[in-house]
C-alpha cells in the first residue's frame, strides 16, 4: 500500500492541513513524521509542509535544510520518488540544494496573504500530470520570503528543461507584474528538478483542496495531490 510522509520540523505549521488533505481527501495512507525520526527511506512520497522552521532564522529553510531528514529526502529524490515542498518546504528544498535558486524576501517588504492564479506550465511532473497544460489553478499564498530568484541567464535553461511548473498569472492567463505577489523572477511560483520528481511551490495547495475552503468554491489545489496519488497508485487504480 502506498505510504506518504509529511515531515514535521520545529516551526512547521501547515503539517496538519497537508495531512488532512492527504488522509481525508485523496485517501492516502499518511504518517506525520518528526524530522529526527525520519531515518529510513520507507515511504513512497515525501511532503515538506509550510511553516516557519527554526523561526526562519538565518534564512527561511536554511537551518532545516541541514536536518538529517534531508539525507533521506535526497535519497528518495535520487530514487525517483515524488517529493513536494510547499512554502517553507519549498524554501527548505532550495536551501538543501534539491532545487536550484533562492527564495528571497518579497519585493513589497510585506507579508503577503492572498489568492493567486497559477498557470500550469508543464504536466510532466507527478504533481501536475492530472492537470492540463495552460490550466489555471486558484491557490492562496501566505509568506514573507517568496521571491523566487535565479540569475537571469539561467532562466532559459530552466525553461528548456521544463523545470518551471507554475507561474502567477492574471485573469487573462498573462504573467504580469500585477499578478506577481512577491516579485519572483519571471512570475515563477513553482519549479521542479531536472527529473521532475521534486517540486516546490510557494502557494498552498492544501488550503485549496476543498471547495468549502476556497473563495471561489473550487478546489484548485487538489489536482496536485490527486496527480501525486495517481502516479503512486498507477493509472489503473
Amino acid at each position: 500500500m502506498v505510504k506518504v510522509a509529511v515531515i514535521q520540523y520545529p516551526g512547521s505549521n501547515c503539517d496538519l492541513d497537508a495531512l488532512e488533505i492527504l488522509r481525508g481527501v485523496v485517501k492516502a495512507k499518511t504518517d506525520l513524521v518528526w524530522h529526527k525520526d525520519l531515518v529510513h527511506n520507507d515511504y513512497d512520497a515525501y511532503v515538506l509542509p509550510g511553516g516557519f522552521s527554526y523561526g526562519d532564522y538565518l534564512r527561511a529553510g536554511a537551518i532545516a535544510a541541514t536536518s538529517p531528514s534531508l539525507r533521506i529526502v535526497k535519497e528518495a529524490a535520487e530514487g525517483g520518488k515524488p517529493v513536494l515542498g510547499i512554502c517553507n518546504g519549498f524554501q527548505i528544498l532550495v536551501e538543501a540544494g534539491l532545487l536550484p535558486g533562492a527564495v528571497l524576501r518579497n519585493s513589497t517588504l510585506r507579508f503577503v496573504c492572498t489568492w493567486t492564479r497559477l498557470k500550469v506550465e508543464t504536466t510532466r511532473t507527478p504533481f501536475t500530470n492530472g492537470a492540463e497544460k495552460g490550466q489555471v489553478l486558484e491557490i492562496p499564498v501566505a509568506h514573507n520570503e517568496g521571491r523566487y530568484y535565479l540569475d537571469r541567464d539561467q532562466i532559459p535553461d530552466l525553461e528548456r528543461n521544463q523545470q518551471i511548473v507554475f507561474r502567477y498569472v492574471n485573469e487573462q492567463k498573462e504573467a504580469t507584474e500585477d499578478a506577481n505577489p512577491n516579485g519572483s523572477i519571471d512570475n515563477i511560483a513553482g519549479i521542479c528538478n531536472q527529473k521532475g520528481n521534486v517540486m516546490g511551490l510557494m502557494p498552498h495547495p492544501e488550503r485549496a483542496s476543498l471547495p468549502e475552503m476556497s473563495a471561489d468554491n473550487q478546489n484548485g489545489g487538489r489536482v496536485i495531490f490527486d496527480s501525486m496519488m495517481r502516479t503512486l497508485r498507477g493509472p489503473g487504480a
Binding site: L58, A62, T66, E95, G101, A102, R105, S107, Y149
Partner: protein, 87 residues
C-alpha cells in the same frame, strides 16, 4: 602566529543583480527624503559576528570562510559574503 580569540564578521548581501527592496526603500524613503542626496545607493544585508578560537587572524578568517561555505551561511545562488577579522 598569535593564538587567541578573534572576532570575525560575516556580511551577507544580495548579489548586485538580485534586487534588494529593503536597501532601496531605506535609500528612497529615508535617506533621500531626509535630504542626504550625496548617498547614491544602499544595500541592506545581514551581519553575523562570531568569536573564534584560532592560531592567528588568518586562521580565524579561514575557519569562518569555510563554515560559511560548508553550512551555507549564504545561498550562493543569490548572495555574496564578505568575511573580515575585526578584533
Amino acid at each position: 602566529m598569535t593564538p587567541g580569540s578573534y572576532v570575525v564578521e560575516v556580511i551577507v548581501e544580495n548579489k548586485p543583480l538580485a534586487r534588494d527592496p529593503e536597501g532601496e526603500t531605506i535609500h528612497q524613503n529615508l535617506i533621500l527624503k531626509g535630504g542626504y542626496n550625496q548617498v547614491t545607493g544602499v544595500r541592506a544585508g545581514k551581519l553575523l559576528r562570531m568569536n573564534v578560537e584560532a592560531n592567528s587572524p588568518e586562521d580565524a578568517r579561514a575557519i569562518v570562510r569555510k563554515l560559511s561555505d560548508d553550512l551555507r551561511i549564504y545561498n550562493p545562488a543569490a548572495h555574496t559574503i564578505q568575511v573580515r577579522v575585526v578584533g
